[in-house]
């Protein structure tokens, strides 16, 4: 090494960095979503794959065009648009016309994400808003459900009620005891709910697949279990009280809607959930509370997407209220500050 005029890089410390990247995190989320995708193909046939592909392709394309038009750097390589696409598709019924899925994807990426500054700056979950827009615009298409395994038989079986709607009717009729659940022939069993043999949105049906994804995210330290567990726990407690102690009612409420999908993959979205521990708890309890209110007293059978979006909007306020004090701040200073 004779070069005495060598050029050295001078930068601020630290000089070592972890291996984690945004792309890597998004890739982990995609991997965690694969079990649910496989389950949806198994339950609803290859059309579910077509819906997912449409959403992903539209999301990535609209992100690309959007960034081009806005003359900003290209961000599709961070894979966040792919995650949004998969999540949106997971929130749609398999029978949805593909052009509607395209509209939902464009709303999610263009309106919710890019208009507010792209990744990290959207204030609500793009996929959920995409779903809500579709639900308000095309209520019929968004609430016609295909029976599980219908793709294997020749007859086209469509129904208008999900198990959750069925339970809602039962709750309003006033009988949610275990006998009532056994007597209702329209309801799948708990075991069927676990493996996903029920009507519902693409990704939400198979509880086992979602839990596998959840465990993967926890092991890879992508998400902390605080929000999912608190959210589901809140719903469980409220439903147990509302059902006057009926464990069946509670289990059906947890497993038969979009709660698992919402709690594991939507409520834990980094950008739209609080950073600190206390904030996460408040956020998740709020989500659980609103979900239960909509499910028990609202006219819609499902309330997960609305509850998460409402709490998303409240995140800045939650963060201000649950602000963590710097290390060693004496407790007395509380009164002095405000």
């Amino acid at each position: 090494m004779k070069n005495e005029n060598r050029k050295l890089t001078v930068s601020a410390s630290p000089h070592v960095r972890s291996n984690e990247t945004v792309t890597g995190i998004m890739l982990d989320v995609i991997i965690a979503l694969i079990p649910a995708l496989v389950a949806s193909v198994y339950v609803f046939g290859f059309r579910s794959l077509a819906v997912v592909a449409t959403c992903v392709a539209t999301c990535v394309l609209s992100e690309y065009i959007c960034r081009k038009v806005m003359k900003r750097n290209n961000t599709i390589t961070d894979l966040s648009a792919v995650v949004t696409g998969i999540l949106l598709a997971f929130n749609l019924p398999v029978s949805i016309p593909l052009w509607m899925a395209v509209i939902g994807s464009v709303v999610a990426i263009v309106v919710v994400k890019q208009c507010f500054g792209g990744i990290g700056n959207n204030f609500v979950n793009p996929a959920l808003v995409g779903r809500i827009v579709l639900m308000c615009s095309f209520p019929t298409a968004m609430s016609s459900w295909v029976m599980p395994y219908a793709w294997k038989s020749t007859t086209d079986m469509l129904t208008t009620a999900t198990p959750l709607a069925e339970i809602s009717t039962m709750f309003k009729a006033g009988d949610v005891s275990a006998q009532a659940f056994n007597a209702n022939g329209a309801l799948p069993s708990i075991g069927e709910l676990m493996v996903g043999a029920r009507q519902g949105c693409l990704g939400e049906v198979c509880a086992i697949a979602l839990i596998i994804g959840f465990l993967y995210l926890i092991i890879r330290r992508v998400i902390s279990p605080v929000i999912p567990l608190t959210y589901i726990g809140t719903v469980a407690v409220i439903m147990l009280i509302a059902g006057k102690g009926s464990v069946d009612f509670m289990l059906y409420e947890i497993l038969s809607g979009g709660l698992l999908l919402g709690a594991i993959f939507m409520a834990t979205d980094y950008t739209t959930s609080p950073i600190n521990f206390k904030g996460k708890i408040v956020f998740a309890i709020g989500c659980g509370l609103i979900t239960c209110l909509i499910r028990l007293f609202g006219s819609l059978p499902e309330g997960v997407s609305f509850s998460i979006v409402i709490m998303n909007i409240l995140v800045p306020h939650i963060e201000n209220l649950t602000f963590s004090k710097p290390f060693g701040t004496p407790k007395k200073q509380k009164e002095v500050k405000q």
Binding site: M1, N3, R6, L8, T9, V10, S11, A12, S13, P14, H15, V16, R17, S18, E20, T21, V22, G24, I25, T75, D78, S80, G117, G118, I119, G120, N121, Y270, T271, I275, N276, F323, S324, K325, P326, F327, G328, T329, P330, K337
Partner: protein
């Protein structure tokens, strides 16, 4: 003190939050410290410590000997500079330190004899004031990297009720192994120093805190502690979880005593004095021989160094010469760091001198690890890693929009720039740089008022 078992090894009193797991790379830990021969020239900057700079007390052409004072000041928060080789003063000029600061420096041409200064004799130390005076004369500064004059630490106000001395042997920075070598090679010096400090300054409890990735050091220290016939059993070895930044002063105090140092305060405010283990053992050697701080050991490592090892060099030796002594560069370096990879400073070139506070020289050739900076996704990893409970991503945003009110409430002033946030950021943001900016923005705004 019921929890203290005679001769046992203590566990951390309280776990600190945050922090990161960073690869240790303590590859040089089994290599003994090699003494480097005297260089032809040494350059001794007049500011090698936190506090007031010294002014040269020698002229060009003067003959100096090892240990002779060549720079001093009458300010209290400062430390004198001693000649590290014997020879003649070649020039007195200006030099740029790694921090970017420009300071005066004395360059000495060595005569190769390393002749000791005649006036060197062991100081007479009988009282606290004697000790503080002696430590100041030795030119000792914190050898762990910060470079804070040690006598200032020891000259604490007795009304504060200081009862604990924490000897910091955590060495949480990757690569560096000089403190570890000190524990193994000079463990008796450490203990002799501890007892002197205990007797003169009245500490009730002394804790030597070591990270649990150095079991050999723990064993050596424990054996000596057990062999000492100490009735009060006041010296304890404590193992801490290997986690960066375990060795940071506030983290150290929390782990060792369970006390939290409030923002803007010093460990002395909660009754503790924290001292680096190498600084402590130097005190004992100084009291025995009277030879001031003229050389130090440091780790030379990194993938661009041919023979990574620990070397003992005269202070003021050119970095280039030290690297050549270690076999030179094995690869073209892209980054040269004075200090550890987490908090050390990147150097502009290898022509500068070694300072008292430099505990490592690292050279890296691997450029692959640089992340491309993308937008923050609010993942919260920085907040989770922050040992000071700050939310770096929010502070960055407040700084960008110059929101002074929010910055003030964010607690940014407690940030010690440990680098845990930058390390863990998946978006590759240089958060520490933003934290420094936030501090200066806030200082500026407060000065305007």
């Amino acid at each position: 003190m019921d929890e203290i078992r005679k001769g046992g090894i203590l566990k951390a009193v309280k776990k600190s939050r945050g922090g990161i797991m960073v690869a240790h790379h303590k590859d040089t830990k089994d290599l003994p410290v090699v003494r480097m021969p005297a260089p032809e020239f040494v350059t001794l900057p007049m500011q090698q410590h936190i506090g007031a700079p010294c002014t040269p007390t020698v002229k060009v052409g003067d003959t100096v000997a090892v240990g002779q004072v060549i720079g001093d000041t009458d300010k209290f928060v400062s430390a004198p500079i001693h000649a590290s080789v014997s020879g003649t003063v070649k020039s007195i000029g200006e030099v740029r330190l790694p921090s970017g600061m420009i300071t005066q420096a004395v360059t000495i041409e060595s005569d190769g004899e390393m002749r000791l200064f005649d006036g060197i004799e062991p100081p007479k130390v009988e009282t606290k004031d004697d000790l503080i005076k002696a430590v100041r004369q030795s030119g000792l500064v914190g050898l762990g990297g910060a470079g804070f004059p040690s006598h200032v630490k020891l000259a604490f106000d007795e009304s504060k009720g200081i009862d604990t001395l924490v000897i910091n042997a955590a060495e949480c920075e990757p690569y560096i192994t000089v403190d570890y070598r000190e524990c193994i090679d000079n463990s008796w010096d450490i203990f002799s120093s501890i007892y002197t400090l205990k007797d003169l300054l009245g500490f009730k409890k002394i804790i030597i805190a070591v990270e649990d990735n150095k079991p050999d050091a723990i064993k050596v220290l424990k054996d000596i502690a057990d062999s000492k016939n100490d009735v009060n059993d006041s010296v304890k070895i404590m193992t801490l979880k290997s986690k960066y930044p375990q060795g940071a002063e506030k983290m150290m105090v929390l782990s060792a005593t369970g006390r939290k140092v409030p923002p803007g305060k010093l460990p002395a405010d909660v009754g503790c004095v924290v001292m680096n283990v190498t600084s402590a053992s130097f005190i004992s050697r100084y009291l025995k021989t009277g030879k001031p701080l003229v050389s130090r050991s440091l780790t030379v490592a990194g993938d661009a160094i041919a023979n990574p090892q620990n070397v003992r060099v005269p202070i003021g030796t050119k970095i280039k010469e030290i690297i050549d002594f270690c076999g030179g560069y094995s690869n073209e370096p892209y980054k040269l760091i004075a200090g550890g990879p987490m908090m050390g400073m990147a150097l502009v070139d290898d022509q500068g001198p070694i300072l008292k506070s430099n505990n490592a020289i690292l050279a890296f050739s691997d450029t692959k690890k640089i992340k491309k900076e993308v937008d923050c996704i609010r993942c919260g990893r920085c907040a989770k890693a922050c040992p000071m409970s700050l939310i770096p991503t929010n502070i960055e945003k407040y700084t960008k929009i110059r929101d002074i009110e929010k910055l003030k409430n964010s607690g940014i002033m407690v940030c010690m720039e440990c680098g845990s946030c930058s390390y863990s950021c998946p978006a590759g943001k240089a958060l520490v740089q933003h934290m420094r900016l936030a501090k200066s923005v806030l200082r500026e705004a407060e000065a305007k008022k």
